[in-house]
């Protein structure tokens, strides 16, 4: 890499992280419009959840941010730069879904993390001492140094996820995209990953997480973007991640049941409990029951 490139990259990295998606529509070659007129903006030091059912356009938004698809209308800017420019500067790091990875591939943990450095290397991809040091640091940070010479298929679900997170760290992208990071991992690993994401957020990273694990969203996401082939709502979690918006986002797809009255407590009062779940971690709203249509009878149709 020549000096001009280094200069522009360091300049770019000095900018605060940001994603600006402005009125984008994405139409695939088969004519299917996956996303229409979607807009949202995110700034530095943010963890944002991208929430929607399958087919709502989560992965299309990811692809547009990484430049894999070109919007037929509107534009995406990363740190104020066009996507292609931002990508060539290694600004965006991507952590794939576990199902998208061939775990039998003959690569070791350290090989995968080193792949995060390729964009910083010369054309033959011969690692410098700095590259090796960044890989060591990244492995340390996710607590995977002890496993560095393991083949990736020999790891547990959470360890696998941490390896790819380490690759994103080694890449030093200030925008990190995580695709369904909590699928198939245990609660301990999930909270370890969330802790790490919070650290990165506090260091100024912008983290975008696509998830259908609704229960953990209010725990660690400051911002939420709700999708259903367009942006239904976007903003701070407390204001946006409401029962009303979620019902709009998920329609009849999720189990939604409400407990109140005698099912919940012996005495007569208006406290109620509302559970929204897709059978992973349920999202629970505690509140005062507003409409009395069901006369306190719990709806058990959805499960237990």
């Amino acid at each position: 890499m020549n000096r001009v490139d280094l200069l522009t990259r360091s300049e770019a990295m000095a900018r605060p992280a940001s994603i600006a998606v402005r009125d984008i529509s994405v139409t695939y070659p088969n004519g299917f419009t996956a996303v229409r007129d979607a807009s949202f903006e995110l700034g530095p030091g943010t963890i944002c959840a991208l929430v929607g059912v399958n087919g709502s356009g989560k992965s299309t938004i990811f692809k547009a941010i990484m430049g894999f698809v070109t919007p037929s209308a509107g534009q995406v800017q990363l740190c104020g730069l066009a996507v292609d420019k931002a990508v060539s500067m290694n600004i965006v790091a991507y952590v794939p879904q576990s199902e998208d990875v061939d775990w039998n591939f003959p690569v070791l943990v350290e090989d995968v993390v080193m792949m995060g450095r390729y964009g910083h290397m010369n054309l033959l991809r011969i690692p410098s001492n700095e590259d090796r040091r960044k890989v060591d640091e990244a492995l340390d940070r996710v607590n995977m140094s002890a496993y560095r010479t393991r083949q990736i298929g020999e790891l547990s679900g959470g360890q696998k996820k941490r390896v790819f997170l380490a690759r994103a760290l080694a890449q030093e992208g200030i925008i990190i995209l995580l695709d369904e990071p909590f699928t198939g991992i245990d609660v301990t690993t999930e909270s370890a990953i969330i802790d790490l994401l919070r650290e990165l957020r506090d260091a100024g990273h912008l983290i975008l997480v696509s998830t259908h694990n609704l229960g953990s969203v209010p725990d660690f996401c400051d911002q939420v973007v709700l999708l259903d082939r367009t942006v239904l709502a976007a903003g701070p979690t407390a204001e946006t991640f409401t029962q009303e918006n979620l019902e709009r986002t998920f329609g009849g797809v999720l189990r939604n049941f409400e407990l109140s009255g005698h099912a919940l407590h012996e005495d007569d009062d208006a406290r109620s409990l509302n559970v929204i779940t897709d059978d992973e971690r349920p999202l629970v709203f505690y509140g005062v029951k507003k409409n009395k249509k069901k006369e306190g009878r719990p709806d058990r149709k959805g499960g237990e």
Binding site: V87, N90, P96, N104, M115, G119, Q151
Partner: protein
């Protein structure tokens, strides 16, 4: 028979020396490519391109240009046409590929019967390694050597492309260049192999060494080394066997490679069906949790 004579005697002949040199060159370049094909799941692509070069060879003969050029253009056309048809229809890639390559192979056969050539169809289909000239050897060395050099220089990018194309794209690597680059390298490899093993048998050289190495190791660099070693060893042994039994050389090499794969599949230390370490009571390589051999190719 005297074992030394078994090894030495055949190479007293010039044509056997050339045959051995040719098969070693082809084995090495095919073995390196086979590692990528096996990992990328492109075995059928190798088969398709190799069949599709036939019309290119015939047309090149008619036009009086080097046969290798015609073969290369036709092979690449097959790959590009497959990609185009897949992108513009709902049919899956393997189906499209099957139609394109069998169609092109058909065109090649029809053309061959209509055109007066000095080529033998059998030699094109199955190779004629015992008949190679010094000129053939030089041509193959240039094509195979150039291909090897490029693949080895860009082996890490190509590996990343096979492993995680999305990440490759996200860090700004030219994924399209890697994709088509790999197709071009594959076509060149096939072109360089035609004289030795022919367009039907080359696919074995493009799959077996990589598959054998894939079972034996978890590291890509070792996989490359093992694949080349298996392929070159098979070439030597196959050439020798063909001399002594007076059999088709290309077929003998392919048979030895298939046998090597079978042995590894059955007895590989870690993932074999009956790991050799367990058969001889050493180590615990055959512990029941090593069930990954089940999904090896």
């Amino acid at each position: 028979m005297d074992p030394l004579a078994f090894l030495i005697e055949p190479f007293a002949y010039d044509f056997m020396q050339r045959a051995l040199g040719m098969s070693l060159l082809v084995a090495a370049v095919c073995a390196v490519l086979s590692c990528y094909l096996v990992l990328k799941g492109w075995s059928l692509m190798g088969d398709a391109i190799s069949h599709a070069v036939l019309p290119g060879i015939v047309i090149a003969f008619v036009l009086g240009i080097p046969l290798a050029v015609g073969a290369f253009v036709a092979g690449l056309a097959c790959a590009l046409l497959t990609g185009y048809l897949k992108y513009n229809s709902r049919v899956k890639e393997d189906t499209v590929m099957g139609i394109v390559f069998s169609g092109m192979f058909g065109i090649g056969l029809v053309l061959f019967t209509k055109v007066e050539t000095d080529q033998h169809l059998n030699h094109i289909l199955f190779g004629n390694v015992l008949g190679v000239t010094v000129g053939d050897l030089i041509e193959t060395a240039i094509i195979a050597g150039g291909t090897l050099l490029v693949v080895l220089a860009k082996r890490r990018d190509l590996l990343l492309y096979c492993f995680d194309p999305n990440h490759a794209r996200a860090i700004g690597l030219p994924v399209n260049v890697l994709h088509y680059g790999l197709l071009v390298l594959l076509s060149l490899t096939i072109v360089s192999s035609i004289k030795a093993v022919g367009i039907i048998l080359v696919i074995a050289m493009l799959i077996a060494p990589g598959a054998t190495a894939y079972i034996l190791t978890d590291r890509f660099e070792r996989m490359l080394v093992i694949a080349v070693a298996v392929a070159c060893g098979s070439s030597v042994l196959g050439t020798l066997i063909s001399f002594h039994i007076n059999g088709a050389t290309g077929a003998c090499i392919v048979l030895v490679q298939a046998f090597a794969f079978l042995m590894v599949f059955l007895f590989a230390p870690k993932r074999g069906l009956w790991p050799i370490t367990r058969l001889f009571g050493r180590g615990n390589g055959g512990s029941p949790d090593n069930v990954r051999s089940a999904d090896a190719p």
